[in-house]
């Protein structure tokens, strides 16, 4: 199962994004709001850097001991009457879930937002069973109506504006109201309410699974996860194997980092928490509960230089500050996981073959690393990916030759000095008024949109040498 969204070349997706003015305006506005919100929250909390370090420590410790904590979690879930299934691949996860659905003879499933189910392609797999699947997160629901994919891991419909959403509701559900967000949300709420009440099975993702108690916790601003776990008789949680914390204490730290970093909120409107099956004295919750823990390539990162990619708490703050994302949008990454974390994580989970452009879709500006609440060195990991691609011999021939040249040039003071003498003459045929407007070879890409200042006749080192001589005379 590939994480790829569409079978198109990377550059085509980029072009589609760049040409989509609606999307770019929506993304740019949202980035500005999220960024301001995050900075305000960080300042109000105080000692933000210390909190980030604590977040990093917790994630490092947990992932280093992930076998221990997963074992503890599964024991606790089983103690509370739940079934635990470890899925090595997307296919295994999907077929287990399908089997549960079929055994229950379910007619309707409600889901709360979950990126891991996007990753494993669960909705497509469930479509084969003939069961109706309803996404209950507002953004996901909009995309489901349109047959579209999320373009952001926290706010999946970020690329849509309210007018587009109004149109979708009108076309697909006969909506006749305005494009006011309150009215749109009220309409969606009403539509979804009957789905919640009819559903036989609920499926949620997981923000933090708490190993000590076997509890699944989720953050939402719509409360839909509460509806999904309380109403249906059968409940399935799908979690990436690294979405785990040792105890409630660490969860408290991380959830505050998550919500502040994601949307600039101290906490989301709802924090959902549920544990195993309904007990005798409880009035809601499932009678049948399944926890599906998904590996799907995550183990590839364990014990490697990419392990920190598993520290991610899916806040999306790296996406919210990324200038590349702002201009091309989430779909251009052509992966379930877009933005800087997507560019780091996707090749780890899914290999380079389908995603070889992603590590290069960054100017290495480091805004992502600076924003990450658990201090994942995202831009450095992109360089590591590039190193792997070079090691595998998978870069273009011309680039290999050029870099060989760059290596010789930088490694030899003699060759380097020659270049300082020759640069001016070499570029002279293309130079006019000390400027190059239409450069040769690799400079073409540069001069397509900007001028290049031509190298002057005298290099700095030649000036310095002359000056020294003059001084000595």
């Amino acid at each position: 199962m590939s994480l790829k969204l569409e079978d198109i070349p990377f550059e085509e997706g980029v072009q589609k994004g760049i040409e989509n003015d609606f999307m770019r305006q929506a993304v740019s506005g949202a980035q500005g709001r999220f960024r301001a919100g995050r900075l305000k929250q960080a300042q109000e909390l105080g000692n933000w850097e210390d909190w980030r370090k604590l977040g990093e420590e917790i994630r490092t410790h947990t992932v280093n001991h992930i076998d221990f904590y997963l074992h503890q979690l599964s024991e606790q879930v089983e103690k509370r009457g739940g079934h635990v299934y470890f899925a090595e691949t997307a296919e295994e996860a999907n077929s287990y879930i399908k089997q549960v659905i079929q055994t229950k003879n379910a007619k309707k499933i409600v889901k709360s937002k979950s990126m891991v189910t996007e990753e494993i392609g669960l909705n497509d797999a469930l479509a084969e069973t003939g069961t109706e699947v309803v996404e209950s997160d507002l953004g996901e629901w909009i995309l489901q109506l349109e047959g579209d994919h999320p373009s952001h891991i926290v706010t999946p419909a970020l690329h849509k504006n309210k007018e587009q959403i109004r149109k979708t509701f009108a076309q697909k559900r006969g909506y006749t109201g305005s494009s006011e967000p309150e009215e749109l949300a009220a309409f969606a709420r009403k539509q979804l309410r009957s789905d919640f009440l009819q559903a036989d099975v609920g499926i949620t993702g997981c923000n933090f699974a708490i190993a000590e108690s076997g509890t699944i916790t989720l953050v939402t601003n719509e409360g839909n996860a509460d509806m999904v776990w309380t109403v249906p008789d059968t409940l399935i949680t799908v979690m990436g194997m690294e979405r785990i914390v040792p105890t409630w204490e660490e969860m408290e730290v991380l959830v505050g980092l998550l919500t502040r970093s994601a949307v600039g909120q101290k906490l989301t409107s709802y924090i959902t928490a549920y544990t195993g099956c309904r007990e005798e004295d409880e009035i809601d919750g499932p009678n049948d509960y399944h926890l599906v823990i998904v590996d799907n390539g995550r183990s590839n990162a364990l014990g490697t230089e990419f392990q920190a990619a598993l520290h991610c708490i899916r806040c999306g703050s790296c996406i919210n500050v990324c200038p590349v994302y702002r201009h091309i949008g989430g779909h251009a990454y052509n992966s379930v996981y877009p933005g800087p974390i997507g560019a780091v994580l996707t090749p780890v989970l899914d290999g380079y073959d389908d995603h070889k452009d992603l590590p290069y879709a960054s100017s290495l500006c480091g805004a992502c690393t600076e924003a990450c609440p658990v201090r994942i060195p995202l831009h450095e990991m992109l360089v590591l990916h590039r190193q792997k691609i070079v090691e595998n011999g998978d870069t273009p021939f011309a680039e290999k030759m050029m870099m060989k040249g760059v290596g010789m040039w930088g490694g030899s003071p003699f060759v380097y000095k020659m270049s300082t003498k020759l640069a001016h003459s070499a570029l002279k045929p293309w130079t006019k008024d000390e400027t190059i407007e239409n450069g040769p070879g690799p400079l073409k890409a540069w001069t397509a949109v900007r001028n290049l200042a031509a190298p002057p006749k005298q290099s700095f080192r030649s000036w310095f040498e002359n000056r020294k001589k003059d001084g000595e005379n």
Partner: protein
């Protein structure tokens, strides 16, 4: 104080005035400036493209070139940032890790050196004009130099300083990124040019010639009448 100038390949070949200004500023502040001629490039173009072995060749050459230097000062946040990464690159290398650490510890970006090492906040220059400053990504995020350039600029006599909106956004240079993903880079530099224009500044100043070459080249292409200059030019002006 003895200072060895790390010119950076881009200023050596393309923008020698940056070096001249840097030498003159440092000398005026009482430093004795020498130029180790065995220096080449910091290795960043190869390193950031994933060509580790090719990059290491440059890095070793730089370590050799500055072996005897007391302080190494360069007019670029990005290239100095690369040198500060050398210990990380040579980690576990019994021959090169220690010299890499020594070089990283004595290497400073120009404004960082003036403010943090020399303790000077006013270099005594005069510059008339409306100026905005682009805080380049590697200067601020990799090297962590945020205040020094602004402190020095704000103390220049006659200057009218205006903040650049969304200054923290990358200009789209990114070294090889600009030619490897030119479509994306183009959108980023267009946006930066818009923000610079919004300020109404006559001059855009920065501490990294790579970024300035990118922004300046774009603004020139757009026919914008903004002069894009390295900070050393302002710090070395007395009009």
């Amino acid at each position: 104080m003895k200072v060895s100038l790390f010119i950076t390949c881009i200023s050596d070949i393309m923008f020698p005035n940056v070096g001249k200004n840097t030498v003159e500023i440092l000398e005026r502040l009482g430093c004795e400036v020498d130029f180790p001629t065995l220096q080449t490039c910091c290795g960043q173009p190869a390193y950031n493209s994933g060509y580790l072995e090719e990059a290491k060749g440059s890095m070793k050459q730089m370590i050799r070139a500055f072996k005897d230097a007391e302080y190494v000062v360069g007019p670029s946040g990005s290239c100095v940032g690369m040198i500060r990464e050398y210990p990380h690159v040579f980690k576990g290398d019994s021959e090169w890790e220690k010299p890499a650490q020594e070089l990283a510890a004595k290497t400073f970006e120009l404004t960082q050196f003036i403010v943090d090492v020399l303790g000077v906040k006013d270099v005594g220059s005069t510059f008339k004009g409306k100026v905005t400053y682009h805080p380049s990504c590697h200067m601020t995020r990799i090297l962590g130099v945020k205040d020094a350039p602004k402190i020095l600029l704000q103390n220049v006599k006659g200057i009218e300083f205006v903040e650049l909106p969304s200054g923290e956004d990358c200009c789209g240079f990114g070294g090889t990124f600009s030619v490897k993903k030119p479509e994306i880079s183009a959108e980023m530099v267009k946006e930066k040019s818009r923000h610079v224009t919004e300020t109404g500044a006559e001059y855009l100043v920065g501490g990294d010639m790579g970024c300035l070459m990118n922004i300046g080249g774009r603004m020139q292409r757009e026919g914008k009448n903004v002069k894009v200059i390295h900070i050393s030019e302002i710090l070395n002006t007395h009009n």
